[in-house]
Amino acid sequence: MSSAPVIEFENVTKVYPLPAGDVIALDRVSLTIDEGEFVAIMGPSGSGKSTLLNQVGSLDVPTSGNVFIAGRNIGEMDDRELTNLRLNKIGYIFQKFNLIPLLTAYENVEYPYILKHRNQDDSGRVSNFLSMVGIDSDFALHKPPELSGGQQQRVSIARALVNNPKILLCDEPTGNLDSKTGHQIMDIIAGLNRKGMTVIMVTHDPAIASFASRTITLEDGRVT
């Protein structure tokens, strides 16, 4: 099911300079992920999984080498362009859900939509995504602390999808959920992939990784 690469790493090194000495989080990593792939990134703690995900999520740029996201080299982009890339091309799902506590579930989903369209959603898109992930209109009016972990993660999936991204990044999406809820969430993510969404997921749970069609394992900043 592969087509054009949507993510390309060329010899990517990421060094964090620390007082105790430089930490090499990614060491000459080269990889390609095609559109529509479901890739799990595994590896022990400190192996560079999160660093790699942050590069794909254009939250960070490499120290050396090139990272291409949807055809664009993120190392050559300024903060404004990187932010726009995150807004338009990337959906992010976090282990800790990371919903905005001041906004209701509905508003959390609507937030990126407003940022992108400079207008409130009157097309029903926000509500559609919420019902697609199983949040009914009552719960949509609740603020995140009033929702269960599973519900929060569902809301965060709807939020990640609302701007029609090319890539869905999942950072331990089931890490804070019980296994039953975790599987429900994974069913949603796998379903999105079946519809053509490129999914990159960091996990250290092999059962969760088995949802992916390919697994990339990192160790000490290198792909093994």
Binding site: L59, T83, N98, L102, K116, N163
Partner: protein, 406 residues
């Protein structure tokens, strides 16, 4: 529409979430705005009421004989109210004509005789200033409260203070001069003047005003004037006329002194202005304290919301928008504080102006009430400035670091 702006909504909700803290921070702004507005209004009201008092006579030039021997004070009341019949200083008919020739085209010129003498009304006796004026001029310069202007040599008008003191009404009779010496003259009151207050030209409140003929009949002194007053049509001519009179009449030697109130007004206004600025600067310190408290609250808000900022940034919020969010927050605090402050300062300012200035005639005049929006604006601006650094800090957080924070 700013209200629908999601970033603005986040600011509003953050303030609501920390309501008490926000109220306390805004309280500082309230106090600062009240202090600045009140002090400003107090100064403005003082200046305005003094200006009004003085500019009522700002168009009047008082020409008096140049003092010989230097013993006479030429202050504010030097020419008018005091009895100056105890010396030989008079303006002559020809000097009056010179002044009239120069100043007539700029306004009304009239000569003033004045003398102080004993008066007797029924059984009461006392002293009063008696003015002798051209009867045709009196209606132009002295507004009447009751009755009519004097036409004959036996009729006079009196000032309200004198009228009250001696219970004078139109028709009352006054004996001027010492009856024991047999030279008293009986006059009839035909009108009561309006109150004029202290003034440079004529102090009529406790005086008797009659015709020149009546005056010279009692005291002599025809063609000898204690002062000549010029009532200008345009206050802006004051300096030119004053200069022309002194140039012409004092050509050979100092013969006359011309006084006008503009210089005094200038100096009083400038003193009050300096005082107001000084007091407002002290009041400004309270705004500075408020700014520190706003800054503190904003820094707390940033620190507490680091993670939220990380989330916002990671899902596509621009730095500028994060900055806006905190600037809005500071501006909302400032606006609420400043609005409450403005409302309070109208009430508190009114009471303080009433207590300190004694009159609120000018309270709602533009020169005074302008301090309310002024202080409000200063309050809001100070708040926004206090929010700049916290907002800048928030917007420059590394999203990855921010997301990691608990």
């Amino acid at each position: 529409m700013i209200i629908k702006d999601i970033i603005f909504q986040l600011s509003v909700r953050s303030i609501r979430l920390h309501f008490l803290r926000s109220v306390l921070a805004a309280l500082g702004i309230v106090i600062g705005v009240v202090a600045i507005a009140t002090m400003g209004m107090m100064g403005a009201n003082m200046t305005l009421s003094v200006t009004e008092e003085l500019s009522e006579m700002g168009n009047i030039l008082v020409v008096t004989p140049y003092p010989v021997g230097g013993g006479r004070m030429m202050g504010l009341h030097g020419g008018g109210g005091s009895s100056s019949g105890n010396d030989d200083e008079f303006l002559s008919e020809s000097q009056f004509n010179d002044i009239e020739r120069i100043a007539a085209k700029y306004g009304t010129v009239y000569a003033v005789h004045s003398e102080s003498d004993t008066i007797e009304i029924g059984s009461k006796t006392g002293r009063a200033t008696i003015y002798g004026l051209d009867t045709s001029v009196i209606p132009d310069i002295l507004p009447l409260q009751d009755g009519a202007y004097p036409k004959s040599t036996s009729s006079v008008v009196v000032g309200p203070t004198l009228a009250e003191r001696f219970d004078l009404k139109t028709g009352s009779k006054i004996d001027i001069g010492d009856p024991d010496e047999g030279d008293s003259t009986t006059v009839r009151v035909v009108g009561i003047l309006e109150e004029r207050g202290m003034s440079m030209d004529l102090n009529t409140d406790s005086a008797i005003i009659g015709s020149e003929k009546l005056f010279s009949g009692m005291f002599g002194g025809e063609g000898e004037y204690n002062q000549v007053n010029v009532v200008l049509d345009d206050i802006n001519d004051a300096e030119a006329v004053s200069t022309e009179i002194t140039d012409q009449l004092n050509r050979k030697e100092e013969e006359v002194t011309v006084q006008d109130s503009s210089r005094m007004l200038e100096s009083i206004t400038s003193t009050l202005g300096t005082m107001t600025t000084f007091v407002m600067a002290i009041a400004g310190i309270s705004l500075l304290v408020a700014a520190v408290s706003i800054f503190n609250v904003m820094m707390m808000s940033v620190t507490e919301r680091i993670r939220e900022i990380g989330i916002l940034r990671s899902i596509g919020t621009q730095r500028l928008e994060v900055r806006k969010m905190f600037i809005y927050e500071a501006a909302i605090l400032g606006f609420i504080g400043a609005t409450i402050g403005a409302l309070l300062s109208v009430a508190i300012g009114y009471v303080i102006v009433l207590a300190m200035v004694g009159s609120t005639d000018f309270f709602f005049s533009p020169g005074s009430i302008v301090y309310v929006p002024f202080a409000m604006l200063v309050g809001v601006i100070i708040c926004v400035i206090s929010g700049v650094y916290p907002a800048w800090r928030a917007s420059n957080l590394d999203p990855i670091e921010a997301l990691r924070s608990e």
